[in-house]
Subunit: 337 residues, 3 copies
C-alpha cells in the first residue's frame, strides 16, 4: 500500500510598519499566519510495523510568486525515512534542527508574521549568529545533509531525536556546516517540557562550535495555554539569550495569542562589547477560523531597542537609527489544502 | 467541501524567423498557441454564498525545461481569494494588471506566439516603457503585491475590478512599483466593450506615473468575431499608441484568426524625438483541434518598421538594422490537461 | 480520455570518499540508486491509434532541497508528443540524446551513484568534451530544442529514433548547440544490441562537430545479465574512448551488480598530448528490495588514474594529485512513488 498526497498552505496579508524617525510603509506579505508552501508527501506501509516515507516541502511567496529561497526550491524539507513502530524513525535529507523544532512550538506565532520571535533571531546584529555565518545561510532553523534518528510515538509522552549533518567541506559561504544536535520532550497531563542543543562547525567557527540551546515549558491552565522558553546562541566570547513568555487560547472559531520576547546580548565580538544591544518584542494576535482550512487574522507587534540594536519588523521603511522602536500591524487570510 | 486541482498546458512549436539583411534562423519554442504552464487551484465552499480559493500558476519552457522567469517560479499568478456571491471577490497576491486583462482578450493570438501583439510591447525601443522600467520587470502584464476587488458574476453582462499594489520601496531595479488600476467591461447580445487604466510609480517615474490605458470592442457577426482595440503607454513627454484590428472564426475542429497591429510612437524621451519609430505587424493563424485538449497550429507573422524601429519576431537572427522587416512562420502542438 | 499522473523517486545515501594523499570525507548525497525526481505525465487517447502525451521531469537534491540544475527546473525532460501506433512518435522539447539513451541502459548503475560510469565522462579532464563545451552544459546526456521521431513499439524487437536540435545561435556559453543524432536497437531472444551516434556543433566546435558514438550488447545468461559497451567522444585531434563491461543479477528481493569501466584518452588538444591520461573504475553494488517501491542499497567504487588524470568519485576531499586513486563506499535508501 502506497499513497501520494499533495497539500499546502497559501497565506497572504497586508502589513503596515512604522519605524522611528523614518516613517511608515505598506506591504503585501506572504505567510504571516503560516508559511505559504506546497508539499508532496509519500507513505508506504511495508508490513510488520515498518513504513517508508518521504516529504518534500516547497516554500513560496504569494505576494510575488517567487520561491522563498532562490535555487533551493524544496527549502523547507526534503527527506526520506524508514519508520519502525518500535525502533523509531531513521530520516535523511534537509530538515529542521532540534533546537528549532522545540523553539517554534513554544512560539504562539509559529516563528512567522509581524510578531514572530524570528525578528530577534537574525544575522543582522553583531553577535554570535553573524560571527558564525556572516550573511550566508545559518543553521538556526534547518540544516542540509542530515541523518536523524527519532523516537517512536507511543512512549507515554516522551519524544525526541538526534541529528548529525555531514559538513561536506564546512564552507560557511556555501551554507555548509557540520551539525550535531539532540532534543527531548515530555508531556504529563497539562504540562509539557522540552530541551534541545544544536552545535555547528563551519569555516567561520574557528574558535569552537556555534552553540544553540533551547529549554521550554508549556502549561494548559483551563482554556489558556501558557508558555515560557529560553534560547541561547553562543560563539567564543559572544552570547545572545532569548526569553519568550506566551499565552494563547481558543474558543469556538476564535483564537487569541500574545508573546513577549526579550533578546539579551552579552560578551564581545573581537574587541566590540555587545552587552548593551538588547531588544524587546511584544506581539498580540487574533485569528478567526472561517472553517478548518480558512482563517482571517490580525496581528500587532512592537519592538523596542537599546544600545546599538535596531531590530525591526520586516518590510518597513529602511534606515531606522539604533535604539529606535518598530511597530507593525497586519491583517491577512490563510488557506490550507 | 474543498478541492485541489492540478492542471496545465504544454505547448511547443518549430519556428523560422527571417530578418532583413541578417538571414534566417530556426528555433524550437514554447507556448505559441497558449503559454506552457502548470497550475494548482484550490476552492473551498464556506457556505452562505462565501468561498475561499487560491491559484498558483507556474510558467515553463518546454523547449529547454527552464522556468519562464528565473527565481519567480509562480510567475504567472499567486493569489488567495475570498469570494462572495453578491459582494464579489477580494484577491491578494501577484496577478494580471487590469489593462492587460482587457487587452489580451482582444488579441486573437492571446499575446503569445509569432504573431502576438506583445512583439510591439517591450522595453527594447526608446519610449515610455523603457523610460519607466529600464531593463527590469515592467507592469504591462502583471504586478506583485496586489490587492484587488472584482465584481461578482451575474451582473447581466457587467464585469470589472480595481487593483492596488503596494510599492514596497518602489525600487524599479527590483521590479517594484506602486500600482493603481481599474477595468470595466459590458456585454450585450453580440457586442462587448471594455476599458481599463493602470498607473504605476516607481523609482524611475520621477516626472509622473507611467500610464497604461486600454479601450476595446468585439462584435460577433454570424460565425466571425471582429475586434478593435487601442492601448496607449505614456510617461512624461513620450507616448506609444497601439491599434489592433482582428478577426477570428471557428467551424467544427477548425479555427482561423488574423490580426493587424500598429505601434505609433510620439513625443520625445529627453531630447530624442521618437515620432518616426513606428511598426506594423500582420498575423495569420490556423488551429486544428484534434480534441478539446490537443491542437495542431500554424502561424504566419510579418513586422515592418519605420525610422529607428527594429522590432522583430523573437528567436530570429540578431542584428537586423533599423527599418527592416521581420518575417516568421511556425507550426506546433498544444496539449491542455 | 485523458489522464495526469504525478510520480517520482526520492533517493538519499551516506557516502564516504577517500582520495590519495588528501584523506577521507563523509557526505549525504541524493540519487545514488536512481536520480531523485518529480514527474508530471499526461496521456490522451485521441482514438484511431493516435495519442497525445507530455512529460515533465524535475530533478532535485534530497540532501539540500535544491533543484538539480539551477534555473532549469524541468531539467530532466520537458516534451510534448503525438504517438501513432503504426507511424511511431513525434516528440518535441528537451530530452535525452540518442547516445545517452543507449549508454545508460548498458550501465548497471544507471549512470548514477558512487560507481556511475559518469565519473569518467565529464568536462574536467583536458579532452574532447572540455574542448567542445568548456564549463558550460554539454550534450552528452540531454539537449534543448529537440525534434525527434521514434519508432513505434511492436516491431519485433526493433527500436530506435532520430533527433535534430535547433542550434538557436549555437552559443556554447548558453549551453546551445545544433544536434543531429540517431539510435537503433534490436533484441532477439536473450541477446540485445544497440548503437547510436550524436553530433553537436556550437560556437566552440570550429574544427568540425563533436561526435559521441555508442555501441553495446547485452546477453542474458541464465540468472546473470552480461553487458559490453563502447563509447567514443571525438573533437578534432582529440578522442576519449570508454569500454564498459558489466554483470548483474536479481534473485528474489536481492540484486547484485558490477561494472568495470576504462577511459582511454588519445591524440592531443592543441599541442597538449593527452594519450597518457587514462582512468579505470571498478564498481560493486548490492540492492535489497523492501518492496517494489522501496529499496536499501550499498555501493563500492574505486577509480585508478594514469598520467595527468585525477578522476574522483564526487563529494570527496578536494585536491588529489594526478595519478591518484579514489575510493568510495555508500549506503542509501530509494523510494519510488
Amino acid at each position: 500500500q502506497s499513497s501520494v498526497t499533495i497539500s499546502g498552505i497559501l497565506d497572504v496579508a497586508v502589513r503596515r510598519v512604522s519605524n522611528d524617525g523614518v516613517g511608515s510603509a505598506n506591504a503585501v506579505v506572504s505567510g504571516s499566519n503560516s508559511t505559504s508552501r506546497l508539499n508532496v508527501s509519500v507513505l508506504e506501509d511495508l508490513g510488520g510495523g515498518l513504513k517508508a516515507g518521504a516529504t518534500l516541502e516547497h516554500g513560496l511567496m504569494v505576494d510575488t510568486g517567487a520561491v522563498a529561497t532562490a535555487d533551493k526550491f524544496w527549502d523547507r524539507r526534503a527527506t526520506v525515512s524508514l519508520m519502525d513502530d518500535r525502533l523509531g524513525e531513521a530520516r535523511l535529507g534537509r530538515d529542521y534542527v532540534p533546537s528549532y523544532s522545540v523553539w517554534t512550538r513554544l512560539d504562539p506565532f509559529s516563528y512567522v508574521g509581524a510578531a514572530r520571535s524570528a525578528n530577534l533571531i537574525s544575522a543582522t546584529p553583531t553577535g554570535p549568529i553573524k560571527s558564525a555565518y556572516g550573511s550566508a545561510a545559518n543553521t538556526t532553523v534547518r540544516a542540509d545533509n542530515t541523518v536523524q534518528w527519532l523516537l517512536p510515538s507511543g512512549l507515554g509522552g516522551l519524544e525526541g531525536g538526534v541529528m548529525l549533518a555531514a559538513g561536506e567541506g564546512r564552507d560557511a559561504t556555501a551554507g555548509r556546516g557540520r551539525v550535531v544536535g539532540a532534543r527531548l520532550g515530555y508531556s504529563f497531563g497539562d504540562v509539557s517540557i522540552a530541551a534541545a542543543q544544536t552545535e555547528t562547525r563551519n569555516s567561520l567557527t574557528t574558535t569552537g562550535s556555534f552553540k544553540d540551546g533551547v529549554l521550554g515549558a508549556q502549561l494548559q491552565l483551563a482554556p489558556v495555554k501558557l508558555g515560557l522558553a529560553w534560547r541561547t546562541f553562543k560563539l567564543a566570547d559572544s552570547k545572545q539569550a532569548l526569553l519568550m513568555a506566551s499565552a494563547s487560547s481558543s474558543f469556538g472559531a476564535h483564537e487569541v495569542k500574545a508573546s513577549w520576547v526579550r533578546s539579551n546580548f552579552s560578551g564581545r565580538v573581537g574587541s566590540t562589547v555587545i552587552d548593551a544591544n538588547d531588544s524587546t518584542q511584544l506581539g498580540l494576535g487574533y485569528v478567526y477560523n472561517l472553517s478548518k482550512r480558512t482563517a482571517l487574522y490580525g496581528t500587532l507587534a512592537r519592538i523596542s531597542n537599546d544600545g546599538a540594536a535596531k531590530v525591526v519588523v520586516t518590510d518597513g521603511p529602511a534606515g531606522m537609527a539604533a535604539g529606535g522602536t518598530s511597530k507593525a500591524l497586519e491583517a491577512g487570510v490563510r488557506h490550507r489544502f
